[in-house]
């Protein structure tokens, strides 16, 4: 019984982390039809920026609680700098190209960012563990969890609610839906599609960076840390259906629970259980759980 609880809690924690990252990936795909392979690198950038900022803050002898603000600031900073830089500097020259070509463009970007990180931060590991332990821990039956993990869950819920609100309740969100629905029509109706793309990509980048910044205190921040994240996030959004936000949430939950179940009960399948689930879902739902296949008009 305690096992089941542990599996569930671990699964939900892992799912929260996955959802924040996958939400950015699926948002960008849904609006821009770009499956961003560099998403993992942006996650890594978020982690590096967080480790540097929070580290500097703590070394400067400021109040430890302020390190949380530094994590948030790092994520926002990465989003606001890298989002527009990549969208305006590279992606806008590629609109209208094949989806697969765009995957290759972002793959090239991934390669470049991987080395850029090494050039800026070097190859040594960064640690900033203080924010992780600062809040103490909480007892859940026989188990003990750091309160910091709760922040992760709150952040995931917050991201989900904010996205839902932004899309359904704000004018920009409605324009966004119009662009998703029919971009040529939207452009013809005077919607500034370029602006929508810029905002979307920046928001997506920021989500990746938030994922990275929140992770920074829990791991050693190392080169290559985004390499596995990107394929995990792919699995999540492919399971849920590319471009679908509820799909990303459900996909994250499925992947989170499957992985934590594997870790607890069948550790030898941990690494590939996720991809196995992804392959299984695609067998029965070729476009993922939340996206229906479309027939072509001839």
């Amino acid at each position: 019984m305690g096992d089941l609880l542990a599996v569930t809690v671990d699964g939900v924690l892992y799912a929260s982390w996955l959802f924040i990252i996958a939400a950015g990936l699926t948002l960008i795909y849904g609006v821009m039809r770009i499956l961003n392979m560099a998403h993992g690198s942006l996650y890594a950038l978020g982690a590096y920026a967080a480790a540097s900022l929070a580290g500097a803050w703590l070394r400067g002898g400021h109040a430890p609680m302020g390190s949380y603000a530094m994590l948030a600031a790092a994520a926002i900073l990465v989003g606001l700098v890298m989002g527009p830089l990549i969208e305006r500097g590279l992606l806008r020259f590629c609109y209208g190209k094949d989806e697969v070509v765009l995957v290759l463009v972002t793959y090239a970007l991934f390669l470049m960012l991987e080395d850029a990180v090494k050039l800026v931060w070097g190859v040594e590991a960064y640690f900033v563990a203080e924010p992780y332990g600062l809040l103490g821990s909480v007892e859940l039956g026989p188990l003990s969890y750091p309160v910091y993990s709760g922040i992760l869950v709150l952040a995931a819920v917050g991201v989900g609610v904010a996205l839902l609100y932004a899309v359904t309740r704000t004018k920009h969100g409605k324009l966004l839906l119009a662009v998703i629905h029919d971009r040529e029509m939207s452009a013809a109706m005077g919607i500034d599609v370029n602006r929508i793309y810029l905002v979307t990509f920046t928001a997506g980048t920021m989500l990746a960076a938030i994922g990275g910044a929140l992770t920074a205190p829990t791991v050693s921040v190392l080169p290559g840390m985004g390499v596995e994240v990107i394929v995990l996030a792919f699995a999540v959004v492919v399971i849920g259906g590319l471009g679908s936000m509820p799909g990303a949430a459900l996909g994250a939950l499925i992947v989170g629970l499957v992985r934590s179940a594997a870790v607890h009960w069948l550790p030898q399948v941990e690494l590939f259980s996720i991809y196995l689930v992804m392959a299984l879902v695609l067998v029965f739902r070729p476009r993922g759980l939340f996206v229906a296949a479309e027939a072509r008009k001839i």
Binding site: V231, E270, M278
Partner: protein, 315 residues
């Protein structure tokens, strides 16, 4: 032969083979090694060329590359096959069989879904390898062939056996693929890329053709993996990781799909660049690769090969 079609390639490929074999005794060991790796990886990219001509980009060719490498390695250790030739055949066959099975599923998918599902399969295999201690887990294990075509690796000629075998496999692979692409069946590749519906409405099964091409590409990748294992003398799970697959995609994009010779030029270029970068700038290697890939996609969408062709046309 119609006037518009390019001339057959195999005579020139044959010449290239003879030249490659002739320079063997004069090459320093490291150069022979580098060229062998380029030939092996070029084979994987050649398979990608076939898939790309069919309109598919696979981010999971590392799966077949890894299967080829591990099959050759296990053939050498478990089956005690001592000669490189049966080991390469074993690698190619094993990869082909796996593609035959996975193709039942993969052949239904297109565009990014195909790319992602192939990636998922390669990652499943990676996960299996990492957790299999009998196969050395993350460390992998050593592979050695005692001979090539019966020539012991200790003999002066046999020393370059894997290199010569690589050149031969490349010749056979490239010449057959070139011939295939000009056949009625092979011509369906660009037709499928352009318009699947029409191919079906002409009475051919798109799924069967895609399945066949998956198997052919896997056989080439498996042979490439086996050759790499024999040249390096070692296999490890890295061969099936998604970044390895990404490197093959890079070679295929860099080379373009214009000619069956292109992937080998691209792979050689990559290996040369890599050995240079490892010496002088190990931390900017991916930066160079990424930037050149971007440049090719944006400015030379047909790949580097199109530059040669354009020049020849102008002449």
């Amino acid at each position: 032969m119609s006037a518009g079609a390019p001339p057959r390639l195999w005579p020139r490929l044959g010449l290239a083979l003879l030249v490659t074999l002739a320079v063997v005794p004069f090459l320093p060991k490291w150069a022979a090694f580098l060229v062998t790796l380029a030939l092996a990886k070029g084979l994987v990219a050649l398979g990608l060329l076939l898939l790309m001509r069919t309109g598919l980009v696979s981010f999971g060719q590392g799966l077949y590359y890894g299967i080829g490498a591990y099959a050759a390695g296990m053939g050498a250790s478990a089956l005690e096959l001592g000669d490189a030739v049966p080991l390469v055949l074993l690698g190619a066959t094993a990869a082909g069989l796996v593609a035959l099975l996975l193709g039942l599923l993969l052949a239904r998918y297109r565009t990014i879904f195909f790319a992602m599902l192939s990636l998922a399969f390669s990652m499943i295999f990676y996960g299996l390898l990492v957790k299999t201690s009998a196969l050395g887990s993350t460390d992998g294990f050593n592979v050695a062939a005692r001979s090539t075509f019966g020539l012991p690796t200790t003999s002066p000629v046999g020393r370059f056996g894997v290199y010569g075998l690589g050149a031969l496999v490349v010749f056979v692979g490239a010449a057959s693929l070139d011939r295939y692409l000009r056949s009625h069946l092979g011509r369906l590749a660009p037709a499928i890329r352009d318009n699947e519906l029409r191919v079906e409405y002409m009475g051919a099964s798109v799924r069967n053709v895609v399945h066949l091409h998956l198997v052919l590409a896997a056989v080439l990748a498996g042979a490439g993996g086996a050759l790499t294992a024999l040249a390096v003398g070692h296999v490890d799970p890295e061969t099936t990781y998604w970044t390895t697959s990404g490197e093959f995609v890079f070679v295929a994009i860099l080379s373009g799909t214009g000619s069956v010779a292109a992937p080998f030029v691209g792979a050689l270029l990559l290996e040369l660049l890599r050995s240079f970068a490892y010496e002088h700038a190990p931390n900017t290697w991916q930066l160079v690769v990424g930037a050149s890939m971007l440049a090719v996609i944006l400015f030379l969408p047909e790949g580097l090969w199109s530059v040669f062709r354009r020049r020849r046309r102008a002449a």
